[in-house]
């Protein structure tokens, strides 16, 4: 594995988006992963529609039938992959733009641009997470966002942050090693996370969190998706 890796340097990440006052983080995490997978499969970076997921995806957890994707009221990335698999794929952002509100489904199957081939969950092991990131593209992850409300920059590495209270869906796009931590007089390896709160939050919309001990549950809910190649379609 390379010591540092960032999918932004390889053209697999779209610009930072803004979910507005809507609990649709899960849809942004889903589209981010599929955008990366579609880029790897086709060489084309396309911004995909979160609103399609907000409006049309009501997929339920197979183990908990009353836990379903519910637009601004929350959802789950693995459910959304399942929806995309069944629906045939996602439209472009420009064809089905984001409104930040729950609406009626206006999905047009003829305008699908990216399709899911398969998806899977990644083990808790940090080397496996890094390997899947490098091999398969950006990964959907869940995180405990308690420190994110006040985050401005730097490598976040709280002494205490529950790994069991995952409440925010984000996108893992890379990792680095040179996050110098002055207090510890050593370099601190970190994950690079794309958020969906606009560019005026964090480090131009990104969050850095330290690696090594599943801080804030960052390693607990990781999933990867593969996109269909053009010839498969």
């Amino acid at each position: 594995l390379p010591a540092d890796f960032d999918w932004r340097d390889h053209g697999a990440v779209t610009l930072v988006k803004d979910q507005g006052s809507c609990g649709s983080c899960w849809s942004f995490s889903t589209t981010g992963a599929l955008e990366g997978a579609h880029f790897l499969a086709t060489g084309e970076l396309v911004s995909l529609s979160e609103q399609q997921l907000v409006d049309c995806d009501h997929q339920c957890d197979p183990e908990e039938k009353n836990s379903c994707d519910a637009g601004c009221n929350g959802g789950l990335m693995t459910n959304a992959y399942e929806y995309a698999l069944k629906a045939g794929g996602l439209q472009r952002e420009v064809d089905y733009p984001y409104t930040g509100k729950d609406g009626t489904c206006k999905f047009d199957k003829t305008k699908v641009v990216a399709s899911v081939a398969n998806f899977s969950v990644v083990s808790l092991d940090e080397d496996q997470i890094a390997a899947n990131l490098v091999k398969n593209g950006p990964l959907s992850i869940g995180i405990n966002a308690v420190f994110m409300q006040t985050y401005i920059g730097g490598v976040s590495c709280p002494y205490i942050c529950s790994k069991h209270m995952l409440d925010h869906g984000v996108l893992l796009v890379g990792y680095g090693t040179a996050g110098y931590a002055p207090i510890r007089f050593k370099d601190k390896p970190y994950w690079i996370i794309k958020n969906s709160w606009g560019e005026n939050w964090g480090e131009q919309g990104y969050y850095k969190i330290c690696r090594g001990r599943n801080v804030c549950g960052v390693d607990s809910m990781v999933s990867t998706v593969a996109a269909l190649h053009m010839e498969d379609k």
Binding site: D61, G142, Q149, G153, R184
Partner: protein, 114 residues
């Protein structure tokens, strides 16, 4: 509350020394005015304004606590500083609990050497 050994870090005992004069120098009112101007915040009534100011002050204290707990990052005023933690959760978070079914496909183990 207690801290489980796994949650701690070897460096836990080293704490950043924060300038004690910061609070006196920068008042909450000044911070709130800057916050409103920077993020284009406006409140419909005086009551709402006063309430948001109280929330803002609580968040300043919270940011200071976060800074102590998370000294490698920078914590402070963000566009969410006029929201209570509950409002923040309701409006900007939305991840449901994952319950993996037994037949969930697990990613194959990849080689990580070389």
């Amino acid at each position: 509350s207690t801290v489980a050994p796994k949650e701690t870090d070897d460096d836990l005992l080293i704490r950043q020394v924060v300038s004690a004069g910061d609070d006196q120098l920068l008042s909450a009112e000044h911070h709130f005015s800057s916050f409103k101007a920077r993020f284009g915040k406006a409140y419909e009534t005086e009551e709402e304004h006063d309430y948001r100011f109280e929330v803002f002050k609580a968040n300043l204290r919270r940011a200071k606590t976060h800074q102590k707990l998370d000294p490698n990052a920078v914590h402070g005023v963000t566009k969410f500083s006029d929201l209570t933690p509950g409002e923040f959760r309701k409006k900007f978070l939305g991840l449901k609990r994952l319950r993996l079914p037994a037949d969930t496909q697990k990613a194959p183990i990849l080689p990580t050497n070389d």
